[in-house]
Subunit: 218 residues, 2 copies
DNA sequence: CGTACATTTGATTTGAATCAACGTTGGTGG
DNA sequence: CCACCAACGTTGATTCAAATCAAATGTACG
């Protein structure tokens, strides 16, 4: 579903129109694309890179609600304001549209509308799956689930079984509802038990997938 | 958004057609409407009652991903299978449609399609808000947030400030990622601190809303 | 009534957080 | 080139919030 980017559902002509209807904007790692509580006046389509959607509590606790990968949309919320801050985790490119232009474009292209529907439905399913993780899973189960999720995101992309962890330990912790120390400890445990193999700080290999799946429960 | 039931967006004629295109089905409290992993062959529109969406882990841990109120839809998932079990919390009535009929009907009624869009967007926002609660809030904050959420669901419905808690403590616990003992203790604490007042096991009144809001953080 | 179940309350345990060093890495400038 | 340093990550010791274990109390219903 995710891999169906905009270009997959529009014919060449419509695609050209689409791209032209909004400029491409670039962000460096750490840059903020939209702030929580900003007016939702634009819609974005991520073409490359990685974004995180996060929310801060008044005392600084942070929760990451999800990551956006190429092909995902940002700002299709239907609310007046954004509920989450969107920041670039890695250098990213987005197509930026005025909401009104975007809505008009959609009306003329039912295929894009279906794509948006599918995106929203997929995001909802992913968010609910994450609710189970945050509400009921142990630290070990959360890490195992997360590593398998990362694997799922690089079908053919990742060379020779090497899976990228494109975000920092702090991001992983805030996504999984844990502290960085716990993330680090649990990863070390998986390594010690020969379930995974670290091939760098930002990449790993799965040694025993069935055990990892078992540890992720579900 | 929730309060805009189907009837709010269709004219009288279209509404009659809509109701006729699927039978009304009844469920008693505790009945299962759809099982997790069932084929998603039907779409439902809840007309009265209350449903819970839940998922069980192999060892019996349960997480409730959300509750469905009148006007909400069930089964618009776009996936082959349902990801969550839907059960009636109270006696409930639903309009049941074949997915194909439903899709055809939508195509002829853009207003309904917008309603579905809004519903999906609202559910996504609610799920992400719940991610913050489950990932980062303390037991006290979770209970305070939940009680305020309940208040939000009975704008004009609830007589003289009395807010209904239409589900069991076990359901509350499994929705908030806590155990029933913790839910009970935290509610007792709020009562002891004169922040709320219990008016029955299934209902309460807010005595000090600003303090409750403060306790819910955000 | 009395039985079964739901809820509350109390005592103890425990998994993850917190506090505290200690390694590692990558970028910068001498 | 490599020494420095700041940011990131790991590991260890201790604490704490919520879970678990264990009754007791309240409530609905045949």
């Amino acid at each position: 579903m995710r891999e169906l980017a905009v270009c997959g559902v529009l014919d060449a002509d419509a695609l050209r129109q689409f791209k032209e209807s909004g400029p491409t904007v670039h962000y460096n790692a750490g840059d903020t694309v939209v702030f929580e509580s900003d007016q939702a006046t634009n819609v974005y389509s991520l073409t490359s890179g990685l974004l995180r959607l996060s929310k801060l509590l008044p005392d600084g606790r942070r929760q990451i609600a999800g990551f956006l990968f190429p092909g995902d949309f940002l700002g299709i919320t239907m609310e007046e304001e954004h509920a989450f801050t969107a920041e670039a985790v890695a250098p990213s490119e987005l197509c930026k549209f005025q909401r009104r232009q975007f809505d008009e474009f959609i009306e003329r292209h039912p295929a894009l509308e279906r794509r948006l529907h599918a995106f929203a439905a997929h995001e909802l399913a992913a968010a609910r799956q994450q609710l189970v993780l945050l509400g009921r899973k142990t630290a070990t189960e959360r890490i195992a689930s997360f590593l398998l999720m990362l694997e799922g995101h690089c079908h053919s992309v990742c060379a020779n079984q090497e899976i990228a962890v494109p975000m920092s330990r702090a991001d992983v912790a805030d996504y999984l509802g844990l502290r960085i120390e716990t993330v680090s400890r649990e990863i070390s445990r998986l390594k010690a038990h020969r379930v995974i193999q670290l091939t760098g700080r930002q990449s790993f290999r799965i040694v025993d997938r069935s055990r990892l799946k078992q540890m992720a429960e579900g």
